[in-house]
């Protein structure tokens, strides 16, 4: 099939090579069009994949409910010593677990900031009182030992699971399992070490942090209670918070949003103040994807315009070329070339031009993201489809913008064309 056109393609290439500089300049439009499109798509794709990955880590089947001081409460803290009671209740977790059939699991989370001490080293940890289900939802590889198990709750034992980061900061190692670490004034036995997601930063946070220490929630309640004292700029605030977070896992993705709405309504009914926040990673995911789509449309338009400009450049040069080669066309026609053979001849030239431009553009489009990643450390992702697409489009540009000059060439009257100077 293609071999039929090999001669025509060779003829086209030879004609283009007669004017190397002109041919090169002609295809620059397509080169930069395609190059910038691929580079921009790669940068955009890199950024959005990072964001999407971050959201995905939150779990697309999860609903995150967290305690938050209501606004009235916040503005009232100029009173020197006061007691504020807010946030999610143990009751809330039970109610959510019982009233929604779509809920598969609920994980309560109690957070207490405590100074941790191991030997001579110390650091501030976020002590997370939770249940074994935490480890089902926030799946992180176990480095050593084990995670919390139901029997730890029955035993009410002072056991703790540390993160890799915490262990490293406390200058401990894998052999730390079995040792005792002090959290505040209590002593806990280290039963395991897990990896942490690491602080990624940005406005979307994973449920776990690198300074976590996981203990059974009943132990947390018994040892540390529900009251916290905060010292902020000399004024002391006492707070009573039962649960800092409830992570709700829903059975299927399509039930996530209705369930979230139900939970919100329920919380509204039982809480006088708005001392909670509900966030749905799935919604964030959707928003991020929508943003990405918008971004792609904008990029597509820019790409379209630059390729249009490239195409017009090609058409302009080809029209000039047709005029310049009027006599050649006349000679070919007099010898017996059919109109469609003239069309093909000129069309192949523009397609060769635009496709070569497209290929060079792809080269540039691969080089730029590679350099951006290398020099600026930004993640970039070059999609195979963007390469195929832009090559296809540049061939299309050749056909669309080459057709008019080619048809014009073929419609020249051979007698008139032969007389052309």
């Amino acid at each position: 099939m293609l071999s039929k056109y090999v001669r025509e393609i060779r003829l086209g290439i030879n004609n283009l090579l007669l004017h190397k500089l002109r041919s090169f300049l002609t295809m620059l439009g397509v080169v930069f069009g395609v190059g910038s499109v691929i580079a921009m798509l790669a940068v955009g794709e890199g950024a959005s994949q990072e964001a999407l990955e971050r959201i995905r880590k939150l779990g697309s089947q999860n609903i995150l409910i967290s305690s938050a001081k209501s606004i009235e409460e916040e503005s009232a803290t100029n009173v020197r010593i006061r007691m504020s009671v807010y946030g999610l209740l143990y009751e809330d977790e039970r109610r959510i677990a019982e009233s929604f059939p779509s809920v598969k699991n609920t994980v309560p989370v109690k957070e207490i900031r405590k100074q941790a001490r191991l030997g001579e080293r110390s650091m501030e940890l976020r002590v997370v009182g939770t249940t074994p289900k935490w480890f089902d939802l926030v799946q992180r590889p176990i480095i050593s030992g084990r995670v919390l198990l139901p029997r730890d709750f029955e035993a009410h034992g002072n056991v703790v699971v540390l993160t890799e980061h915490g262990v490293r900061t406390l200058l401990a190692g894998e052999n730390t399992v079995g040792q005792t670490v002090r959290l505040g004034s209590e002593y806990f036995e280290v039963i395991g070490i897990v990896q942490n997601a690491g602080s990624i930063g940005g406005d979307i946070q994973t449920p776990d942090q690198e300074i976590d220490a996981y203990i059974p929630i009943n132990v947390a309640r018994e040892r540390f209670g529900d009251y916290f004292v905060k010292n902020v700029a000399g004024s002391e605030t006492r707070e009573k918070v039962e649960l800092h977070q409830i992570i709700v896992e829903v059975k299927s993705v399509d039930q996530v949003e209705p369930t979230a709405a139900g939970i919100l309504a329920m919380l509204k009914r039982f809480h006088k103040k708005e001392d909670y926040r509900v966030s749905v990673p799935l919604t964030l995911l959707r928003q991020a994807e929508a943003t990405k789509r918008t971004f792609n449309i904008v990029l597509g338009s820019i790409a379209g315009i630059s390729l249009l400009v490239g195409g017009i450049g090609i058409m302009n040069i080809m029209l000039a070329s047709v005029t310049e080669r009027t006599r050649e066309i006349g000679i070919r026609r007099a010898i017996g070339a059919k109109k469609r053979q003239i069309v093909l001849q000129f069309l192949i030239e523009t397609i060769v031009l635009s496709t070569t431009g497209g290929l060079i553009g792809i080269g540039i489009g691969l080089l730029i993201p590679w350099m951006i990643t290398l020099l600026a450390g930004m993640p970039t992702v070059v999609n195979a489809y963007s390469l195929v697409l832009s090559l296809g489009i540049s061939m299309g540009v050749g056909i669309i913008f080459g057709l008019y000059p080619a048809v014009r060439a073929s419609n020249l009257d051979p007698i008139v064309a032969l007389r052309h100077e």
Partner: protein
């Protein structure tokens, strides 16, 4: 190649007219031409400027269609063929030689000679061989890789003759083939055409030079788009 045959008549015109419309004006370039060109004959067409010589030759060469009348090329009516079919007639049955040579300047002698073969779909090896044979025939075997600019006018016209012969046409059409050449070179080209005619090729040639026209078997004098008179041969209209 010249497979069309028709009891010795290569081309036949029956009351052929050609009008050119220039705005409201009508130029009657040909006003009723009836004539037969016998296979193997050598015609010289003469006449003052604007008498319609080139118009006649273009019609005979299937580059144009008559406004009125019939044109039989080897017995087949070609006056109503569409553009593709006319192109095919040119490709298979006709060869052109022009006053200004009309070679492709960017192509080599070899490529120029091969041009009709390209459109006939010949493969590279066969057309290279044919181009070499033809170049030998016109004495330019050594110049196959040269470009037209590197050749003298006479040599360029010989390349054009080789190209016109590539498809082994039944009729060779020449519009003032010596017009751009000095008289010595013109004679040389003329000699080449006479040789071709001796080998059986039908030739129709427009010329201004009576001395050259003397070599033709027939002379057709034109005036105002009509035939003024015919000389020579034993044929007539």
């Amino acid at each position: 190649m010249s497979s069309l045959s028709s009891n010795g008549i290569a081309a036949q015109l029956e009351d052929v007219h050609k009008d050119y419309h220039m705005g409201s004006q009508v130029v009657k370039a040909l006003a009723g031409i009836t004539i037969s060109f016998q296979t193997g004959s050598f015609w010289a067409i003469l006449g003052p400027s604007g008498s319609g010589k080139s118009t006649l030759l273009n019609l005979l060469g299937c580059l144009d269609r008559p406004s009125k009348g019939r044109y039989l090329l080897s017995g087949h009516d070609v006056s109503t063929l569409d553009d593709d079919r006319l192109s095919d007639m040119r490709l298979r049955h006709l060869g052109f030689i022009f006053q200004s040579f009309n070679l492709l300047p960017q192509s080599t002698v070899e490529e120029n000679i091969q041009l009709p073969l390209y459109y006939l779909g010949w493969n590279a090896a066969d057309s290279a061989e044919r181009a070499r044979d033809l170049a030998r025939k016109v004495g330019l075997e050594e110049r196959l890789r040269h470009r037209p600019m590197e050749l003298s006018g006479g040599q360029q016209q010989r390349v054009a003759i080789a190209r016109a012969l590539a498809n082994n046409p039944s009729i060779l059409l020449a519009d003032e083939p010596t017009g751009n050449l000095d008289s010595a070179t013109g004679k040389e080209i003329m000699g080449m055409l006479i040789d071709l005619n001796r080998q059986g090729k039908t030739i129709i040639m427009v010329t201004h030079e009576r001395t050259l026209a003397e070599y033709a078997s027939h002379r057709l004098y034109m005036k105002d788009g009509m035939i003024e008179r015919i000389e020579g041969g034993d044929s007539s209209c």
